[in-house]
Symmetry: C2
Subunit: 65 residues, 2 copies
Amino acid sequence: MKNRLKVLRAERNWTQMDLARALDVSRQTVNAIETGKFDPSLPLAFKAARVFGLAIEQIFDDEQG
Amino acid sequence: MKNRLKVLRAERNWTQMDLARALDVSRQTVNAIETGKFDPSLPLAFKAARVFGLAIEQIFDDEQG
DNA sequence: CTCTCATGTCAAGTACGCTTTACTTTTAAC
DNA sequence: GTTAAAAGTAAAGCGTACTTGACATGAGAG
């Protein structure tokens, strides 16, 4: 599962820590998701969508799973 | 996390088993998600969206998590 | 060069997503 | 009221999402 978190962060000049606080998760969780170590839970994906004002599909790419 | 799986199934006259096969998970998993025991993973939510031809947000409702 | 901040990564622990097997309850047909 | 399919539920087990704490690297500022 690919995602655009790093780009969306960069557009806003946010650190991983900033995003972690916005999503209410740890910095390591943001890092792990950005670097593809694991997929976020559905509730966390919804939170990210809310934070960035986008649809889940506009942030995460299931690349035919 | 609420969802419209039961309704979408009913519209198609699908059993939980039918949906389970379409999603490639067990019938118990479909049942547990429908009855709110737990949320699907993000990849499974994407699969459901593909199966029903809808956006994730049109199937699952995060009710302000 | 040193200090700091952002990022990456590892380890151990907790909780949840999903499995299989199996049993009970509901629904509908006859 | 018996039968059968559909739905609900439970327990044990495995993998993963996420945590805290810690340490290593790279880049920019002084």
